[in-house]
Amino acid sequence: MIVADRKPLEEILNSIKDYKKIMLAGCGGCVTICFSGGAKAVELLASQIKMARKKEGRDIEIIECTPERQCEYEFIDEIKKDLESVDAVLSIACGVGVQAMSQRHPDTITIPGLNTKFMGYPIEHALWDERCAGCGDCVLEWTGGICPIARCAKKLLNGPCGGSANGKCEVDKDTDCAWQLIYDRLKKLGKLDNLKKIREPKDWRTSTNAGQRRIKFEEAML
C-alpha cells in the first residue's frame, strides 16, 4: 500500500488562506488504512481548520467527502457537482489521488494535504515500514524476499557496507541493516550461494530515470 503522512497544520492553513469555501476530500484506499486520509481524518482535519479560522475571525465553509478511491476517475466524478461551489479542493489522498483530481477537474485548484512517503505495510499496529521502491526490476527472488533497493540506504547489490553493526544500519540505529536480514534469511534457507555471485550493475531505465513510466495491459484493452 501507499503510505502517506499529513502535512503540518500550519502549512495546510497557509495553503488555503485565500479561500472561503473548500472541499476537503479524503480517500477510501491506502490512506484510510494508514489513518492519514480516510473519512475520520477528513472529519478531524475539517474541525481543526474551522477552529483555527474561527480564531482568526475568518470563518471557512468546508464540504467533506471521502470517495472510495481518489485515484480513479469513476469515483471522483461522483463529487463533480459539489466542486462548482468551492474555491479549491484540499485533498488528503496520496500524490496520485491529488493528480487524478487535478486532471479530472482542471477548473478547480487541488491542494495536497499529505506528504506521500512510500510503498510499505504496517509491521505492527500504527507503524509502517517502507518495503518497495518500485525500481521496475524485482530482485526479491535471490535476496530471500528482502529488498536492498528499498531498505539499504546505499541501494547496494553485492552485500553490506562497512557500517553494518549489530544488525543495524549506520544511517539510523533503529533501522535493521537490510543486508544482515538478507544474510540471515539466506543462511536459514541454505542459499548463501546467492550472495557469492557478483551482481551486475542495475539497469535503472526501469526505475524513475527514464521519465514517466506506463504499463499497458493489452488483453484488457477495449
Partner: protein
Amino acid sequence: MKSDSRLEKVLTAGKFAVTAELGPPQNADPEAIKKKAQYCIGNVDGANITDNQTAIVRMSSIAAAAIAISCGVEPVVQMVCRDRNRIAMQSDILGAAALGVKNLLCLSGDHQKFGNHPQAANVFDIDSVQLIAMVKGMRDEKQFLSGDPIKEHEPRLFIGAVENPFADPFEYRVLRLAKKVEAGADFIQTQCVFDVEKFARWMGLVVAEGLHKKVYILAGLTPVRSHKALVYMKNEVAGMSIPDELIKRMESAGEPKEEGLKICLEMIEQVRRIEGVAGIHLMPIGWESITPVILERAGLLPRPEV
C-alpha cells in the same frame, strides 16, 4: 605488471608495503596538499587521497592527486559511489589516468547523512564491487561498462578495494572480500585495526579461503593521541571494534601521544606476524606529521628500491 604503480612493484617483489592517508583540504589551497605530501615523500609506497570522506566537501581527490604527483608522491586515488554515476566515474577514471594516477581505490562511500550536506541526493548507481569490475574491464578488456571499446590508451590502474573485518555479519565479510577479489581487486586496505585478536581471526578465514594468495592485504592502522579519540570511535563510528583495555591504557598514560605511538608500533609488529598481511595502511586522522616518525621507529624506512 598490470600498471606502472610503485605500490604494485613493491607488493609483487614481496616487500612489506606502506601506504598512508592524505586528506585534501576543505578549500582550494594547493599548499595544504604540498605540506602534507612532505610527510609522505620517500616514506610511503602510496598516499591515499580521500574522496570527500565522511561526505564532507573537500578538494577533488583527482585534483589533489595531481598536486601530490607534482611533489613526487605516488597517489592512491579513492573513488566512492555516492556522488557520481557510471558516466562521471568512467570519465574521471580516464582523467585520473591521464594525469598520471596509477592506483585507484574503489569504495561505496560514507552516507551523506554523516557529512555537511545531509540534504544531498546520493547516487549509488553502481556499488563498490561493480566499480572494481568496471575499472578492471577498462584496464584489461579495454572497454567501457557499456561494452564500447576504449581505443588505445586504456587506464592502467592498480585496483584497490577496502574491507571492514569488524563490521557485521562477521562471517559474510570474507565472502564479500572474495567477491571483490573475483571482481578484480589487486590490493585491499582494511578498516582501522584496534582489535588485533578479531583481525587475526578474520585473516585466518581469509587465509583458509586462499584469498591472501590472490590479493595483497594491507592492515589499516590509526595512531591516536588521546583516549577520547578511541571512546569517540567506539561509540560513534559503526563497525569499529575497540577493546576497553586499549582505552584504559591510553587514559592512564602519562604522555598520551607517546603511548599512542607505542601502541601503533606494537600493532605494526603484531599484524606483520599474521599470515597473509602484505603491508600496512596508516590513517593518522589529523596527525599526518606522525607518519614518518612511526615508519622510522617501526624500521620501515628507507622504503625499498623497486
